[in-house]
Amino acid sequence: MTETPDAWPAIQRDTKSAPFFDAAARDELVIKRCTGCGQALPPEALVCTTCAGTALDWIPAEGSGTLLTWTTVHRAPNRAYTDLVPYTVGIVELSEGPWLYARVDTARPSPDLPLRAEFVHPGDGESYPVFTAAE
């Protein structure tokens, strides 16, 4: 991994996350859906928290949502983030219902703030969504 100052830690895919990062590379957001009960689930879901079903498929998401909660991090959790603070992460409630932990790039986070996914494409590591205030 790069040790360049100002760089976010590079993300490395695994088999289960590959479709999410492939979509992000195309500037698209995908989530999971339970094929049994239809519950929309976050991309990392492996089981449905509504019906406990394990047959999940990937579906496209609009890439829009609202800010459910957030924290602006002022003290680096460990040395990897020393040059990155302050930064804001939050839970985005996607239009389809699932919650996504995400970086939130907005000067004034507020409850229910409408958000839109943009995608970053680091030179090192996987692409991923960052949410900004919707126009």
Partner: protein
């Protein structure tokens, strides 16, 4: 007092607490063994009198089942590692009490030890995630900087703030009250009083959590001995009876009907534990609540029913919890000011208070003591109802 209180099945008869804090030269297993020996001795028992041992491993993976060998214990009738994170003590004590009530064991030690602190290390190095981290979605979390329990609890607290209007100043009242209690606890790591202004001026770690909203990191070990209530009355210490218990593990729901941050397993476990004990929330004399963060105390008070949902901030700011208040809470200073042995921090103080051995900080009423344990990111909860009335 109801009939159920007259013959509880089991009691806490012994307590062992090692040095806690910056204790660097001891392994978790070594500390755990010392805590069990101290607890047995405290109860007036020989270590060889124990026929049960329940071990809760710390963050470094020890102590383990092998603690039996370290202690030289033979012919145990109950031995297990139990891990429900911060809810572990409540789970262990309930298991010990139920086993004793059914005749499966007679004297069970429940022990936890941990050594997350290293010399020259800080608390965040102890629990932070190293940079060369996991792949996949765990790697995604590291890649967006979402890596510490502090951040997840900040997200929980922020949702409560946004939904109910809770404020940082209100949470600060908890930190101030607990530091005031810690002043009279010789075992507390921080005993200097703090003001609400100092809480507000303490560094923002992860908004809305300030430094003084966050627990300590400690090395150390604690153990208790559980016996039948009848036998406890013949042992060396005033018994602390075990009246009721319950667990709740809500599971993490990550979509639009989740109550993350607003309601925890305490809302399920608390009322069930009170019912088992045959008491009501109004009967509770003394609270020892898991306080990894000030927020956790506030939301637990709401969930247990000490105030309506959403009014926890207002309630804690009214001074009920502080020395002189009508609902003493975390009277040893808690994890925020005394020491962090996860669920054993509130439990140890419950036993000391229940016995009437808390010295200058001793409270008058101790017939019903409600103790909480919380594990993970509000994912595991255990409630105990204890009583010092059997003295």
């Amino acid at each position: 007092m109801s009939d159920q209180l007259e013959q509880p099945p089991a009691a806490i008869a012994g307590l062992g607490l090692t040095d806690v804090g910056k204790v660097y030269d001891r392994s978790a297993t070594d500390l755990a063994a010392e805590a069990v020996r101290l607890a047995a001795n405290d109860a007036g028992l020989a270590v060889s009198d124990l026929d049960g041992l329940l071990v809760s491993p710390g963050t470094q993976g020890a102590p383990k089942l092998s603690l039996q060998k370290v202690l030289g214990l033979r012919d145990l009738r109950l031995l297990a590692e139990i891990n429900a994170l911060g809810a572990s003590p409540g789970v262990m004590i309930a298991h010990a009490a139920a086993t004793i009530a059914m005749g499966g064991a007679s004297a069970v030690a429940c022990v936890f030890a941990d050594t997350p602190l290293k010399p020259k290390g800080s608390g965040r190095d102890a629990f932070g995630t190293p940079r060369s981290g996991p792949r996949g979605f765990a790697g995604y979390h590291a890649g967006i900087g979402l890596v510490s329990p502090n951040l997840f609890y900040a997200l929980a607290a922020r949702r409560h703030f946004a939904t109910y209007g809770t404020t940082s100043e209100q949470l600060g009242a908890i930190a101030v009250a607990q530091r005031a209690w810690a002043a009279d606890n010789p075992a507390a790591q921080f005993r200097e009083p703090i003001s609400l202004a100092q809480h507000q001026e303490s560094p923002l770690i992860a908004d809305p959590l300030h430094l003084y909203d966050i627990c300590l990191v400690s090395n150390g070990a604690a153990a208790v001995i559980v016996t039948s209530a009848e036998r406890a009355r013949d042992l060396a210490q005033p018994p602390v009876d075990i009246l009721g218990w319950a667990q709740a593990h809500p599971g993490r729901v990550q979509h639009d009907d989740s109550d993350f941050g607003l309601r925890t397993g305490a809302a399920d476990a608390g009322p069930r534990a009170l019912r088992m004990a045959g008491v009501r929330v109004e009967d509770v004399d003394l609270l020892q609540l898991y306080d990894c963060y000030t927020y956790t105390v506030m939301v637990t008070l709401e969930d247990y029913g000490f105030c309506p949902k959403g009014e926890g901030g207002k309630f804690v700011a009214e001074g009920h919890l502080a020395p002189g208040g009508d609902l003493p809470c975390n009277t040893g200073g808690g994890q925020l000011s005394a020491f962090y042995l996860t669920g054993f921090t509130p439990l140890v103080e419950a036993v000391v208070q229940g016995r009437g051995q808390a010295g200058a900080r001793q409270v008058d009423q101790r017939d019903v003591i409600m103790v909480s344990g919380n594990g993970g990111i509000l994912e595991h909860h255990a409630t105990l109802i204890l009583s010092g009335a059997g003295r």
